[in-house]
Amino acid sequence: MTKILEVKDLELSFHTFAGEVKAIRGVNFDLHKGETLAIVGESGSGKSVTTKSIMRLLPESSAEYKNGEILFEGRDLTKIPEKNMQKIRGKDISMIFQDPMTSLNPTMTIGRQIMEPILKHQKLNKSAARKQTIELLNLVGIPNAENRYKMYPHQFSGGQRQRIVIAIALACNPKVLIADEPTTALDVTIQAQILELMKDIQKKTDTSIIFITHDLGVVANVADRVAVMYGGRIVEIGTVDEIFYNPQHPYTWGLLSSMPSMDLEDQKLYAIPGTPPDLLNPPKGDAFALRSEYAMKIDMERQPPFFKVSDTHYAATWLLHSQAPQVEPPALIIERMKTFKGSRYYVDQTGGTV
């Protein structure tokens, strides 16, 4: 698989009146061609900041790249001048934002808004650009595109607006598409349509997608690989099956347990206690230790490195250290692990433990 984007040891801080907020504290991941990488985590975990730092959309006055690099086609995006970045943004890497109500300009027709990146990045005249715009509208499933092309955002429903935002993002056939909670503001039925649309388009264009969400149901639906972020770091990364059926980090356990399942009868929903860490003064050891019942003494003192679970699966928790005691994950997680080959709780169809 070809790597299309590499993020290496990225560290980023915001300078605020209260002091330096260490929003990203050493993030590493690769994005392969044609895959969907989901980044999950709660608000403030750094998932949006990570992607905005790739797009260089953070305010230069307060955000500072402290360390690391973002390699795209051999170029480090953290170092190139803004002028070159403008040629990449919206062309090679584009973004779909969360709220379709606010990410469109209410005073411009949607046709002009979709044409904007086409005219900027491709050497096309207006009528050719217009033709391409109508094709895009058809692609994202807006009926009657020739006429609706002249309409304004307020004349469309929320789901249609998100389709238009997707059309803008796709206008120049980007190599990387970053979707920052594209369906959070939408209904389940509309969400299902948008997810189907994105998967469909990915099949046609072979675009790589970084998909940010906190909805694990959506992750299970769209992702090939999953990165779980907490406190400005990735705590676990692996294929979607590895994360859902063989999770290793206590935070991933907590996240998976707090989703209500459809077939479980009345019982108290698991809630991760406490609140996310304050990144003004990030904790010394494992950032999740204070909220974790599995925390050991070393978690308070030293940040865990990534331990290898398989070739594609890594988790940053001291529990995987050879000297760590064996702990039982929560019952719900063990149920999940029973279905996963390679997990120590795997139960064979015939009933024997492997």
Binding site: D187, V188, A192, G217, N221, L269, A271
Partner: protein, 310 residues
């Protein structure tokens, strides 16, 4: 005292009634909510579920029909004192914790506003003490009273919204999508908090949401709305085990579950209202398919559903 705290009878809410732009946001719906129960109302945006909640609490005047609270018609003319008392008993928690708190008021004053209006506290120290108690009930602490809303996270703000609703000691709370703006892990915290409070204070909830998995978890009974009409109503487990109306089935089939293997095989059933093919003289009514399980259907459909019901 009757078993039903809330009775909604043939409620209608038309906006721009009589004009060409008439919108039938609620089109003749009826349901009851028992004392101490949680009634979930689900449907996609624009189906009228929020309007129902807002009309019930008299944020809108109903076009027709009645909302009975403890046998008293909410919309009937009443003295100022009676209205005042009703306003205290029914409270609302809003969807957006960012927009529903006044950014220029301290948390202390936001929560105490209801206390002041209803004259429930004597003097400044009593007022402050009550607010601190409320903050602790919802899992915040006394230092938070002197801060402004922008200093809080989404989950914390929703807790402030809950504290504000609880301040006047209500019996009935309408929660209009209280968790849809929150993270998964925070959603669980808020839902657990609402459940605990219900047990402690004997509250009755109307829980409005589009997230069906969370609704099932918190509700005793669920009503499904589609374009201003209630299409199905059943106890929560029954609705999930035996969805009868095609729209409910479609809604359930659209929920992604945190289970990649299931997701790869999930088939979505889109809903098309034309599939019903009702004849011109067929009466489409709310009919009881199984005990406590109502579906909007024709007589023919009723027979089919009863035949397939397990």
């Amino acid at each position: 005292m009757s078993d039903n705290l809330i009775e909604v009878r043939n409620l209608k809410q038309y906006f721009n009634a009589g004009k060409s732009t008439e919108v039938r946001a609620i089109d003749d719906i009826s349901f009851t909510i028992k004392r101490g129960e949680t009634f979930g109302l689900v449907g996609e945006s624009g189906c009228g579920k929020s309007t129902t909640g807002r009309t019930m609490i008299r944020l809108y005047d109903a076009t027709a029909g009645q909302v009975l609270y403890n046998g008293v018609d909410v919309h009937a003319p009443k003295s100022k004192k009676e209205n005042h008392e009703l306003n205290r008993k029914m409270q609302m928690i809003f969807q957006d914790p960012y927009a529903s708190l006044n950014p220029r008021m301290k948390v202390l004053d936001i929560i105490a506003e209801g206390l002041d209006i209803h004259g429930l506290v004597k003097g400044k120290t009593d007022r402050k003490q009550r607010v601190i108690d409320l903050l602790e009930i919802v899992g915040l602490n006394r230092e938070h009273a002197e801060r402004y809303p922008h200093e809080f996270s989404g989950g914390q703000r929703q807790r402030i919204g809950i504290a504000r609703a609880l301040a006047v000691d209500p019996e009935f709370i309408i929660a209009d999508e209280p968790i849809s703006a929150l993270d998964v892990s925070i959603q669980a915290q808020v839902v657990n908090l609402l459940k605990e409070l219900q047990v402690e204070k004997g509250l009755t909830y109307l829980f409005i949401a589009h997230d069906l998995s969370m609704v099932k978890y918190i509700s005793d009974r669920i009503g499904v709305m589609y374009f201003g009409k209630l299409v199905e109503m059943a106890p929560a487990d029954e609705l999930y085990r035996n969805p009868m109306h095609a729209y409910t089935k479609s809604l359930l089939s659209a929920i992604p579950l945190p289970d990649p293997i299931y997701e790869r095989s999930r088939v979505r059933h889109p809903y098309n209202p034309k599939d019903h093919q009702y004849g011109p003289d067929e009466k489409v009514e709310f009919r009881e398919v199984a005990p406590e399980h109502f579906v909007l259907c024709s007589e023919k459909e009723l027979a089919e559903m009863q035949a397939t019901h397990v």
